[in-house]
């Protein structure tokens, strides 16, 4: 193990310990859970944007539909939380399959516009369908008991479940990216025509990446419903799709920890400002967006990595 890897491993270990100790440190668990849900969301989104090079402007569709499906099964059908979450993940995966199959027919900006338009269909379905509660959304979804055994009503129990799911997601995404499949995805990102000429069925790889990203996004949405107890129209609204882009961009597109960091930053900012400045939050988010694109395209973690890389080269150069 070289020095850089050691630093990363130690950092992750410290973060994990911090995450496990957080409720004891007096941090508000519901806030932490919301933060972790959005971290999963952004990491799943980054699987598509950062590692496959596809910018989806419709990820709210997967987040929101899973939130609704999970909420409905648990509230109206009395399903246990794990089954509700599974239903949400399956639903968002299937919607991802349909939207992905249509959207990958075009590239670049068209891909972004198509995903946005298709997500808008999901939005209108959620607005008008009889079981989604229209403008009010689904309110008062009970957390229930995991496998019918472990009650999640206490925030501490719920928190550790969310941490466990988050760690599992993070490891899964890391596994996907480092697998041969993930290497093909990166190849597509770098040079799609070349990948085709090497004999890869690019569309299949893209579609699978899209479905994986959608399903993991759904997992985040389902968990969010369980944590907060509601699913609303803002979960499926296009502004949610924009938010997750910002989280990923701000943290660092194509880095592992960037989306987690970015979502933490955005959610904390919203939490901090929501009561004080009202609609100005949107303005501030917009300004951050503009600054990010103009001056800060690698994001916080990306810039940090680039800086460390430069320093490593600078110290290595005299010897070589």
């Amino acid at each position: 193990m070289n020095k850089a890897n050691k630093v990363v491993a130690v950092t992750y270990f410290v973060l994990l310990v911090l995450a496990l100790l957080a409720p004891l440190l007096g941090l508000y668990p519901v806030f932490l859970m919301k933060l972790l849900c959005f971290a999963i969301f952004a990491a799943a989104f980054n699987l598509l944007l950062g590692f496959t090079g596809l910018l989806s402007f419709g990820h709210a569709a997967f987040f929101g539909s899973a939130a609704y499906v999970t909420g409905w099964f648990i509230k109206s059908q009395g399903w246990t939380p794990e089954l509700g979450i599974a239903a949400g993940v399956v639903a968002s995966g299937l919607i991802g399959l349909v939207i992905g199959a249509v959207a990958i027919r075009r590239q670049g900006i068209y891909f972004a516009m198509i995903t946005m338009a298709l997500a808008q269909i999901v939005y209108f379905v959620c607005l008008q369908a009889p079981f989604t509660g229209g403008e009010d959304g689904l309110q008062g979804v009970p957390r229930g008991a995991l496998f019918g055994l472990l009650s999640l009503e206490s925030d501490t129990a719920m928190y550790y479940l969310v941490v466990a799911v988050f760690v599992a997601c993070f490891l899964a995404i890391s596994r996907i990216v480092h697998s041969p499949f993930g290497q093909v995805l990166k190849m597509i990102r770098e040079n799609e025509p070349r990948t085709i000429s090497l004999g890869y069925q690019v569309d299949r790889y893209k579609l699978l990446a899209f479905v994986l990203s959608a399903a993991l996004t759904g997992l985040a949405g389902s968990l969010k419903t369980l944590v907060m107890g509601f699913a609303t129209l803002s979960d499926v609204h296009w502004s949610m799709s924009g938010e997750v882009i910002l989280m990923t961009l701000l943290g660092g597109v194509g880095t592992f920890f960037g989306p987690v960091f970015g979502s933490g930053l955005v959610i904390s900012l919203q939490n901090l400002l929501a009561d004080k400045v009202g609609s100005w939050v949107t303005v501030i988010i917009g300004v951050i967006f503009v600054l990010c694109v103009l001056a800060f395209r690698k994001g916080v973690v990306g810039e940090l990595q680039a800086y460390l890389e430069r320093r490593r080269r600078a110290t290595a150069a005299p010897e070589g």
Binding site: L55, F57, V102, R105, R106, G108, I109, Y110, A112, M113, I114, M116, A117, L118, Q120, I121, F124, V125, Q128, W238, S239, G242, I245, L249, G278, S279, W280, V281, T282, V283, I284, I285, G286, V287, I288, F289, V290, C292, V293, L294, R297
Partner: protein, 294 residues
């Protein structure tokens, strides 16, 4: 008299409303196509500029007593100037990057504009009175035609066809089209390309604002009116393909009419019919109806 079991007045009324919406789609997708052609930027802020046009007209009337006809000129000018500023301040730094960055930056601008206007005016919407000259309706015998709507369709058609003429048939348009093909070469011939790019974005912004002013008396002027529209316009652009000016106009009008008819026969689907058509077009002809690239 009934058409397919629908009272014909309702039928024609929805058809006209569809035509009005189609006119807005046409004007906005036209601007989007011209801007994308020359700047390589998907202008997410196009809907926000449309909203700003409507608000500019409303503020002019409310605060300064400037009437509709002056606003029709002044509001697009103001927003066009704002467009020039946006191009100089932000967009010109992005031309060498992936077009997705332009989309993201203009998305940020949307959040800023919407946030400011939501803070100042709320989301409920302000009503803008129909100008006196165009109030009322004309009885055509087979239907009662609201004058203002007829004016909107007529005015937008004139503007769209005028833009088409300007781009396809004049010397200035030839420079513009040449710049779309190869900006460096056009610059080598001594044409001030950065200036042309700046003015193109300004003109696109003004066109969006003009649509906003035209829309103001029909719909409630509210901060979210633009983002609701821009997503549909994106679908229109995907369906039509951004290659052709006339294609944008025809696709916009056609989809407006289809949407209006859907509202008659199956109102629940009227919000999504354009998106569904987009899916069908992508299945059959991925490059879009008038698109050139594969």
């Amino acid at each position: 008299m009934e058409i397919f079991g629908i009272p014909h007045q309702a039928f024609l009324g929805q058809l006209l409303l569809g035509l009005v919406n189609g006119a807005f789609y046409a004007m906005l997708s036209l601007g989007l196509a011209v801007i994308f052609g020359l700047l390589g930027i998907v202008n997410f802020a196009h809907g926000a500029l449309y909203m700003l046009g409507a608000f500019a007209a409303w503020i002019m009337l409310d605060k300064f007593g400037i009437n509709y006809w002056f606003a029709l000129v002044l509001a697009p000018l103001t927003v066009g100037l704002l467009g020039v500023v946006i191009e100089r301040l932000f967009l010109k730094h992005l031309y060498k990057l992936d077009p997705l960055y332009g989309m993201l930056l203009t998305f940020g601008l949307v959040l800023i504009a919407e946030g400011i206007f939501r803070e100042l005016y709320g989301v409920s919407g302000q009503s803008y009175p129909v100008p006196e000259l165009l109030s009322g309706a004309t009885n055509l015998g087979f239907m009662v035609l609201p004058n203002y709507r007829a004016w909107v369709v007529l005015a937008s058609l004139v503007v769209c066809l005028g833009t088409w003429y300007l781009i396809e048939r004049t010397r200035l348009g030839a420079y513009l089209r040449a710049g779309t093909e190869n900006a460096a070469l056009v610059q080598a011939f001594g044409i001030n390309v950065p200036m042309m790019v700046m003015l193109t974005y300004g003109a696109g912004a003004a066109l969006a604002a003009l649509a906003g002013v035209l829309a103001a008396p029909i719909i409630q002027v509210n901060p979210l009116m633009g983002s609701n529209l821009i997503i549909v316009v994106f679908a229109v652009v995907v369906i039509g393909g951004m290659g052709s000016i006339m294609g944008s106009i025809l696709t916009g009008l056609g989809l407006g009419i289809v949407e209006g008819l859907t509202r008659v026969f199956y109102p629940e689907a009227s919000n999504i019919v354009v998106f569904v058509i987009m899916v069908i077009v992508l299945m059959i002809r991925p490059a879009g109806l008038f698109g050139k690239e594969a």
